[in-house]
Amino acid sequence: MARLYDIRVMTVLGSLLCLILGLAFPWSKTPIIVGLCFGIATLGVAAMVRAGQVSFGHAMYACIAGYTVAFLARAWPQLDGLLLILAGVGASLLAGAIVGVFVVRYRGIFFGMLNLAISMVLFSVIGKFYTLTGGTDGLRINRPTLLGFEFERAGFETVLLIGTLAAAIGLGFLVQRYFQSASGEALAGIKTNETRLEYLGLSARRVLWNGYFFSAGLVGLSGALFAMVQGLVTPDMGSWLRSGEFVFIAILGGSGHAIGAFLGAAVFELVKLFAAAYMTGVWQLLLGVTLIFVILVAPEGIIGLLMKKSALATRRGG
């Protein structure tokens, strides 16, 4: 049980840290929410990694959800923030369901590149239809009500911080349950043996589609929250660079346990903040070195390293 205990402790400590930092230093609320958003998106990308598939286009679902929020908020300014978020997630799930039907036929490099290609089409469509989408400048979103209450900027961010944190914990728990369920283990079976899945009477495509559908919704939620906290959506939300960052975080944090997504996101955000403050212009260098370090020292990511350590400790009776 040592492992579970550690993860509970990590979750509690991490959550407290987010809240205390956020309340003590108001400027940190936005980076913390953004970090949590990255973690939620990475949960989805990590599900694909468990199936042995790496998507370089998943950020498109953040983009789809973000623009859905923006369009709706501009058309009906009275709509509540929670409704906007739900609509954003709904749109990304719908898109994921449709795109999923095509992409689950492919594996490996083809899966990765097909996702990339679709996200690039979306990216350029948004850039082209300037009158509707604001082109590369994006769209502003006025601060909506939350659960019927109007908030000042500070209060809005605090509520968003608490809400995002709650969503991150709840979804982390649900996604971990999914990973360990029959569906989730079959998903991991896609990585090692699709022939056996087929000869168990299962459709590997169907199993992968389920995972893809959830992953689109998770990335979508992150995009909707991101749009709310920034008050702005731009095509960059769906760029291949952003997709690459999700993959980066998934590998950094590891996909052995759902919490890996958040550990990865935390390290990613910290490195970015640190570099922005002390080593302007070289944050890519710092991130690159971090990733090389992780791949060499902990190929299963941060969580893989921790789980191995705690398994060793358990075996030694510690």
Binding site: S181, A182, N193, Y199
Partner: protein
């Protein structure tokens, strides 16, 4: 006792190689068929066509009364066919126990999303099957850590977990230490009889064939050259000359 699987003029060529040459074949419920034949005779190819892995260039296959020609393997599996492989097909990143749990969960056709895998299956059934193939003490090790012989057993166990009507095993004892082969076959056959599973296994060892099969079919160059009671087939001229090399 009805016909469980039947083929009619089943054929397939790979380029110039005729791997299945107009095969008419049938297997009755309750039989234990051993298939013998030299390397490259087409034993695995015939299994691959019958289970939907390869599409035949001609002919038809019926399983349990249904025409399954050209159907995907998973649909044929759902009708009650289990298969183990010459090269074991395992979930190498999963533990031995999880491999069987996934099989057991797949049997119902509906995989749960939130219930932990171990709790969505009957633990006693998993224990029983692990015991049967002698993998109980390795149940928490990764499938990838097993030696070849035990991989084969796990592969068979995964197919058995589906409670099939027909179990096809492609060389279940290859890679298993020779002193363990008889024990293994005896246990397997007992389990199959208990569950009333019809079986068909490919086997090179004549001792095992004559001991455990109720019927033998000999494959030569994509054709069934001899088919009947073990003693008769193993004594036939063509089999002794072409397969056993004792004539």
């Amino acid at each position: 006792m009805g016909v469980l699987i039947r083929t009619e003029r089943l054929s397939l060529n790979f380029g110039g190689v005729i791997a299945a040459d107009n095969i008419d074949f049938s297997l009755e419920e309750g039989e234990r068929l051993a298939v013998i034949g030299q390397n490259g005779a087409g034993k695995t190819t015939f299994i691959n066509i019958c289970t939907g892995f390869l599409k035949p260039t001609g002919g038809r296959v019926w399983f349990d009364g249904k025409d399954v020609t050209g159907m995907e393997p998973r649909h044929i599996v759902r009708l009650g066919l289990g298969r183990s492989f010459q090269l074991p097909q395992l979930f190498l990143d999963h533990t031995v126990r999880q491999c069987l749990e996934i099989s057991a969960a797949a049997r119902s056709g509906k995989l749960s999303f939130l219930l932990p895998l171990a709790r969505s299956v009957d633990a006693r059934e998993i224990d029983h099957t692990l015991e049967l193939v002698g993998l109980r003490d390795r149940s928490h090790e990764l499938a990838s850590s097993l030696p070849e012989g035990q991989r084969k057993l796990l592969d068979v166990a995964m197919a058995l977990m589906l409670n099939p009507k027909l179990l096809i095993m492609d060389e279940p004892t290859s890679g298993v230490a020779s002193e363990d082969k008889h024990d293994l076959m005896a246990t397997l056959m007992r389990a199959l009889d208990e569950r009333k599973v019809t079986s068909w296994f490919v086997e090179h060892d004549v001792d095992i064939v004559s001991r455990y099969a109720t019927r033998v079919a000999a494959w030569i160059a994509g054709k069934v050259a001899a088919d009947g009671p073990p003693a008769e087939v193993l004594a036939s001229e063509a089999v002794r000359r072409e397969i056993l090399g004792t004539a």
